[in-house]
Each structure stands twice: as C-alpha cells, then as structure tokens.
C-alpha cells in the first residue's frame, strides 16, 4: 500500500509582502462567496517609532492532527482527509457551528448555502497533482505545501537554520502550519 501523505504548509514570513494574492486566488479557485475568505493576511507591527518591526502572515486552517472541529462535529461532516488534511463534507453538515466554536484559529465560516467551509488545501487540486491555488499564485514564493511523511527533505531544507513558529500549540491541536521567522 502506498505511503500515507501528511500535508502541511510552511510559510516564509520574511518573503511575504502581505499582498493578498493568496486570498483572492483562493476565492476564485474555490468559489468562496462574497464577504468570506478561506485564507487571510495578518500584519503585525511592533515597537515605537522609529524602531519598528513588521510581521506578515498568510493564515488559514491549520489542518490539525488533533482537530477540535473533527472531535466536536456531531455529524462527522468535519473529518480527517487521510492525507494529513481536515476536510468538510457539505452534504453531512447541518451548519450547527460546533466546529466554529471549537476551532482555536477562527478558520471557518458558514457558507450561505448552510454548511461550514474552510481551507481544504485545495484537495481537488492535490488529487490532480497540483499545489493549492494560494501556493501557486504567490508572487514571493512565501507558501510551501509539504508532505511531512515524504523523505524528499523539502520541509527540513526550508526550516534549516530558521526560527519556526506555530500557533496555539498549547491547545494540543498539533497544528500543521509552520511560519518561518
């Protein structure tokens, strides 16, 4: 049997200019309705004039290994995709919002058609051997989709020598977005 994949995303904040190409590419790829998004940019400024620092972060669903949205979903609509991703089956979703309350990353919204929606790592593209739309569009090559179960060394190469930050690890979610500082 083929080795199981474990997709994760590595995001190089040094390269990111916060342009939002990832946000709109996702919206058109996934037909995300007006007023919502599956990924977004956070820009943080710290310090006092003129000693300032800036952090640009492209954010989305963390595709947690221990995902509260999955464990809190009463209908199994939220489920593990088997490739390290967390997916939603719209037909099973009742729009009860238990997952939205459970998600520490505020990654979900209720689609106007009544189901919870969020980043899928563009699973339909992964199946065609393509990278997610946000990764493909990114003009600064900030975003990298990696397979942590692969031995291609890509994740190690990207992280080598870099400070790696994860979000709300204390929540025990085992998130799979890695920001390089």
């Amino acid at each position: 049997m083929a080795r199981k994949r474990k997709y994760a995303m590595i995001i190089d904040t040094k390269r990111c200019v916060g342009c939002s190409a990832c946000v709109y590419a996702c919206k058109s790829e996934n037909n995300v309705p007006e007023g919502f998004c599956r990924d977004w940019i956070v820009q943080r400024i710290e310090g006092d004039y003129p000693k300032l620092t800036m952090l640009n972060r492209s954010e989305r669903c963390q595709h947690c290994e221990n995902a509260p949205c999955v464990s809190n979903c009463p209908t199994t609509a939220s489920h593990y995709g088997g490739d390290g991703t967390v997916q939603i089956e719209p037909d099973l979703c009742t729009g009860c919002k238990a997952c939205i309350a459970a998600c520490p990353y505020d990654a979900r919204y209720i689609h106007p058609e009544g189901y919870a929606d969020k980043c899928s790592f563009c699973q339909h593209r992964l199946k065609q051997g393509l990278k997610p739309a946000c990764v493909t569009v990114c003009p600064t090559k900030t975003l990298h989709l990696v397979d942590l179960n692969s031995n291609d060394g890509e994740a190690e190469k990207l992280m080598r020598g870099r400070e790696v930050v994860q979000d709300k690890v204390h929540a025990g979610t085992m998130p799979k977005l890695f920001w390089l500082m």
């Binding site: 919206k27 058109s28 004039y49 003129p50 800036m54 952090l55 199994t76 199946k127 493909t136 900030t142």
Partner: protein, 704 residues
C-alpha cells in the same frame, strides 16, 4: 468516516463532469501596465479565475492580487456598455445611447473640422496604457499630438539615466534586483507597488540574504524587510544622496578602475558635493550622521553588487530629474553596470515595426519648452490648451486616463476642458473625466480584445499576445476597431488592415512565427540575455562623451547644473502635514476601485497619521474627516483615520486611487478620499516638465 469519503468522491466526480466545458486561454493582463502573461480559465462561457502563465517571463506562473481579480473588471456591472453622445434635452445636458456609426462619425467630423480650422496639432490624445497603441498610429498619421503619462510617473528617471548612461531604465526596470547583495530603496515601496516580476525579484533578494535599506517617511512593507529604515524628512532625499556620493569619493570607496575607464566628470562631482558633509546632511534630513556614513561604507563594501533603486513614480518635488541623476551617479560610482545585482540594459525580441505614414505637420511639430523632455508632457499640453500658445488646442481624445485624478491641480484641468470645442473619452468604465466628454466610446476590456504585440525590452526577450478570452459582453469595440473606424472616417482608408488578426499575423510572419502559434503559446521567447560584462569588454555609452557622464555635459550646455544641487523643500505651514501618497498591492491607481473582487480586499483608503499627531490633533482612530490643503481646498469626500507609528509625525499618507465621485461607479463612489483633490500645487521640473506633486500640505476638519 468512510461514508463521508465516498460521498466526497461522488461530489468530486460530479464536479469533474461539470468542468468539461473548461478552456484556458493565455493572454496578457491589463490590471496594471506591467503586462504579465496570464491564463484565463473559462467555464460555461464565463471567466471564473485568472492565474499566472508558467511560460511568461514576467509572471513565471505567479500573479499579483489585481491580476488574479481581473475578471472583476470584465463583469463590472457599471461598465460602459454602448457609445454615448452628450445632448441637451430641455436645457439639461445628458448622455444618450448611440450606435457606433453615429458616434464615430461625430468624433471624426469634429476632429477634421478642428484640424481644418486650427491646423495640425490642434487635436491631442492623452493616453495611459497599452491599448492605446493603434490610436497612437492614427494620431501620427493624422497630425494629432499624443501625450502619454510620462510626466506624471517615471519620466524624470528615464531622462536622468539617458543623460548619465545614454539609455533609460525602462519598464520592466533593467535592474538585477534578485542578485543584489545590498539594495537601497528611496521611497520605492516594492511589495505595495506590486509589479509582479519586481516583487518576485525582491523576494528572491530577501531569500538570498540581500541587505536592504529603505529611505522613506513611512514604514512601508519594504521597510519592514529592511535592516535599516531611515525615516527621512520629506523632500531632502537629494541631500542624502549627495552625502553618499561625497563619502564614496572622499573615502575612495567607489569602483576606481571602472570609474576611471568608463566615466567622465568625477572631479566636477567631487567639487560639487563638498558641502554635503554627514553633519550638514544629518541636520537637513533628520537622519543621524553615523547612519549616513554606515550606509555609504556598506555601499562601498558591496560596490558592484549594491544597487540604489531609481524608483518608478518619481514626480515628487520639481527637481526630480536631478535627484534621479544623483541616483544614477551613485550607481555609476559603485560600478554595478552590467554586474550581478546592478543596472543593465535589456533587449527586445525584435519584431519589425510596420511602417505607417506619418503626417507632415511642418512648423506644428510639438517641441517641448522643457529641453530634455523625451516625450510629450501632458501638463504642458494642458497649459497650451488654456493659453493657445504656441497654437490652439481645441480637441481632446482621452484614452484610459482619468485626468481629474491623475494630473493634480484639478482646477487647471477643468479650465483646459472649458477651452475645448470637442472631447471624446475612450474607456471601459465611467470615470470623472468621461463626464466631460461630448462622446464616450466604450472599449472592450482586455479579456475581450486583441491589442498590438507586446515586444518590450526584458532580460528574457519575449513577445506577448493579448487575445480575446470571451466574446464581448456589450456593444463595445477594441482599440484597433476604434482606431480603424476613425481612420476611415478621416479619409485614411489603408492605414490598418481589415482585421487585427491579419495585422498581427503579418507582424509575426516577419519573425517566422504566426498568430496561430502565439495564440497557442501565449508568448515567444529568446534565451535569457547574458548581460553581465566580461573583463575584456570595453563599454560604450550613447552620451556625448561616449562614457557615463557623472557630470552631465548636456545639462551644463543647457544652463542646468551639471552636478545635482540640493534645494530645500517647502516647509509645512504650521498645523499642516505633508500629503504623501502611494500604492496598495490590490489596486492600480483609480482604475480598480470599482472592481468588486478587489474591493473586498481593500474597499477604501485610509489616512495614515502618526499617533502623536493624532493625539495633538484630537483624532480618533476610525473616524472620518475631511482634509483641507494649504490653498484652502477641501477633499470632496471624507477619509478614515488610521493612527499608526508607521509614519513621521510631520506627514500623512494615503493610497492613491480612491475618493471617486462619479455616481455610476457604484462600488467606488464616495469610498475614501482622493489625494488629487488636494494636490493644487505642482512643481514643474524645468529639465523635462514632470509635475512634482508632493509639496502639498493638509489639515483636518470634521465639517462636511
């Protein structure tokens, strides 16, 4: 779980069946003027997404947010959908729907009448963008002047580099940013100024560990990437550049062999910058002397692999050509010409240009009063329209440029408009300027039309094609059809072939290709240039001396300073703040403010105000205020206050392109404010006629 997966797969296969109608068409973007290759994805006859073209050297498969949201323009409900003619009904002026035959006849008749009455050059075309190429041919063959937006953008840079190196920087800029080891940006906000390839190169430079210095009154995104942010006092950049020149020369940090072999005027420059000591410069610029010295020494350390970026829109203070000259001199001293990380010269693919007849206009050939204007300054034509000196201008054709928002000094633009006997506007959306037209001709959007071949200089010489992706949605026409119809009405029957395909195919046959081939491929490419200079190469420059002119012989001969001199900027009137403006990555000037898709990413602009200033002026974050400038002119719309540490306390900043007042722009109407309302003072560059826009100052009022 298994059930979920099964159902998911079914869902997918259903989707696959639905997508069988899909096609992908390679074409060129027009959301800004960089002209990236894009793939337009069409499903059931509708463009649903746009991605970067893998094979296109400007996109490399990647794209900025504007290009990604380009179909927001195609499907904009407020588009110009049919020709419009101004008419007086019961004393009230309004636009009525017209057919093309009537509208084109009216335009041609009026232009011919004006030309008959006032002579050649009495009709002028203002253009911004690639779609104007065929109209420019029409103008040349009918004795009409055409004025691009050069004097409001990168004109001073191009002319300064021509004077120094004998060639311009060009667009896309011939800068080897991705291989730079030390990059200095002067007000250039790469990352907010979102030219795809330039930002790709900038990110590669960051990835390669390039050290970055940003000189900017505002903590830009680029400043967020820099090891040093130097929040310079606005208007004193020239002082800083001269100080760096002085240190490079005095401390012998310049590339001596290169400078000795390839430049003239070092001694004159040395003399000319004697006053620019680090201490004097610190007092002028507000930048500490040790920072000034440290950067100069770093420049000297990286020399050939360091780059002072010449910027893009550099029409700031009226001495912009000289400031750009100072930047050119610094780069020359570093010896970075055609070295990894420096300046270079790039080539075209080289599709021969078809020969079109050019009208003989005799005495009426436009000669700018600004001796080094290498293009027609729009602002000068505006003046001529008002004064009729040296001859009257009575007809305007305005293509794709919203002059009310782009030129500054709106009162002057309106005064000029009032002198006209006829004006036609060609655009895809209603804009403030189109309201002044007698006839409005609606153009196809870039996704519905062919344009001329894109054969520009780049490190990978290429030809790009813009081709229609979907049939036109409305009763609009392409620039080609408009130019052809006008030419025939004006008696030039053979100017253009019957259809644009024949024209494009004819051009491509000259390079052993065809329209069919490029339609399929999207782009023709040659191998990347090997532009790095070889040790045995001797360099020649197209300047009077054949060398890089550190001191400019041409400027000197025309009575200008051969070595750039510092002029102090205008001071802020008490209680007023300098108005700075720039770009955001998701918008292009005022052209995209009505795009619903991009509007979601950024619906309005905000006024950046330093937190200390905010406290002094009792401004609350998020409140809306009107702005009043030094001449008592108030912004037409209010703007939201953003209190931030990211700007000097003496300046305020907004993204250009908002504050639209055209009621038919439903998305953009009344959102944010326009800097153009407040730029009543222009400083004209005496060397080439650029309009400096940044000596304007504002204060706040809550009164509507």
């Amino acid at each position: 779980m298994a059930g979920g997966s099964l159902s998911f797969n079914q869902h997918k296969s259903l989707k696959a069946a639905q997508t069988s109608e899909e096609k992908v068409v390679p074409t060129l973007c027009e959301l800004c003027f960089w002209r990236c290759g894009v793939n337009a994805h069409v499903r059931d006859g509708k463009v649903y997404k746009i991605t970067g073209q893998e094979q296109h050297p400007l996109s490399n498969g990647r794209l900025c947010p504007r290009g990604t949201g380009g179909h927001g323009l195609l499907y904009d409900p407020n588009r110009l959908k049919h020709p419009l003619i101004r008419e007086k009904v019961n004393g009230k002026e309004m636009f009525r729907k017209a057919d093309w035959e009537e509208a084109i006849t009216l335009v041609a008749d009026n232009f011919m009448r004006i030309r008959e009455e006032y002579g050649h050059g009495s009709v002028v075309t203002f253009t911004h963008g690639f779609g104007a190429s065929f109209l420019k041919i029409l103008c040349a063959s009918c004795g009409m002047i055409s004025a691009p937006s050069y004097a409001q953008c990168r004109g001073p840079r191009e002319d300064a580099f021509k004077l120094t190196f004998g060639h311009s920087v060009g667009s896309p800029e011939a800068l080897d940013i991705k291989n730079s080891q030390y990059l200095v940006l002067i007000g250039t906000h790469l990352g907010e100024n979102m030219h795809n390839t330039a930002v790709q190169d900038f990110a590669d430079a960051i990835g390669n560990g390039c050290r970055i210095v940003v000189v900017d009154p505002r903590f830009s995104t680029a400043a967020g990437k820099a090891e040093r942010w130097l929040p310079i006092r606005p208007g004193t950049d020239m002082a800083l550049l001269r100080a760096w020149i002085r240190i490079l020369i005095e401390e012998e940090l310049y590339d001596r062999p290169f400078v000795e072999e390839n430049t003239v005027g070092l001694e004159e420059v040395r003399e000319g910058v004697q006053d620019a000591t680090p201490e004097n410069t610190a007092a002028l610029t507000g930048i500490a002397a040790e920072d000034i010295i440290a950067v100069a020494r770093d420049l000297g350390r990286y020399k050939n692999h360091a780059l002072i970026h010449p910027g893009r829109r550099v029409t700031w203070y009226g001495d912009d050509t000289q400031r750009e000259r100072a930047i050119a001199i610094l780069n020359a001293l570093l010896g970075n010409y055609r070295r990894p990380g420096g300046l270079f010269k790039q080539n075209k693919y080289g599709v021969p240009k078809p020969k079109f007849p050019i009208a003989i206009v005799g005495e009426r050939k436009f000669v700018s009063r600004y001796p080094f204007a290498s293009s027609v300054p729009a602002s000068e034509i505006l003046q001529q329209t008002i004064t009729s000196d040296p001859w009257p201008v009575k007809g305007w054709m305005v293509y794709g440029t919203n002059m009310i928002h782009s030129l500054g000094n709106q009162a002057q633009t309106i005064e000029a408009l009032n002198q006209l006997e006829f004006m036609v506007a060609i655009d895809v959306l209603p804009m403030e300027i189109t309201s002044y037209a007698d006839v409005i001709l609606p153009e196809h959007t870039y996704l519905e039309r062919y344009d001329d071949l894109d054969d520009r200089s780049f490190r990978v010489p290429y030809v790009g094609l813009r081709q229609p992706v979907v049939p036109p949605l409305y009763d609009t026409k392409s620039g080609y059809e408009i130019a052809k119809m006008l030419s025939e009405k004006m008696g030039k029957f053979d100017l253009f072939p019957d259809d644009v395909e024949t024209y494009l195919d004819g051009r491509l046959r000259e390079v052993n290709s065809s329209l069919a081939e490029i339609k399929e491929k999207g782009v023709l490419k040659k191998p990347e240039m090997d532009f790095y200079r070889k040790p045995w190469e001797s360099l020649k420059f197209r300047t009077p001396s054949g060398k890089i002119e550190l001191a400019s012989s041409k400027l000197k001969a025309s009575g200008f300073d051969a070595v750039p001199r510092y002029t102090p900027p205008q001071e802020n009137p008490p209680g007023y703040f300098r108005l700075l403006f720039g770009r955001a990555p998701m918008h292009t000037f005022g052209r995209t403010a009505n795009n619903r898709f991009l509007g979601e990413l950024m619906p309005e602009n905000e006024l950046w105000v330093n937190e200390i200033t905010g406290k002094d002026m009792k401004l609350k974050p998020g409140e809306y205020v009107y702005l009043i400038n030094q001449d008592g002119v108030k912004s037409k719309t209010p703007i939201k206050i953003r209190l931030t540490q990211r700007i000097r306390p003496d300046s305020v900043y907004m993204v250009h392109g908002f504050g639209h007042t055209h009621p038919e722009l439903e998305q953009a109407f009344g959102r944010g404010a326009s800097d153009a309302d407040l730029i009543t003072h222009l400083d004209i560059d005496p060397i080439m006629g650029a309009t400096g826009m940044q000596n304007n100052f504002v204060t706040f009022t809550r009164k509507a």
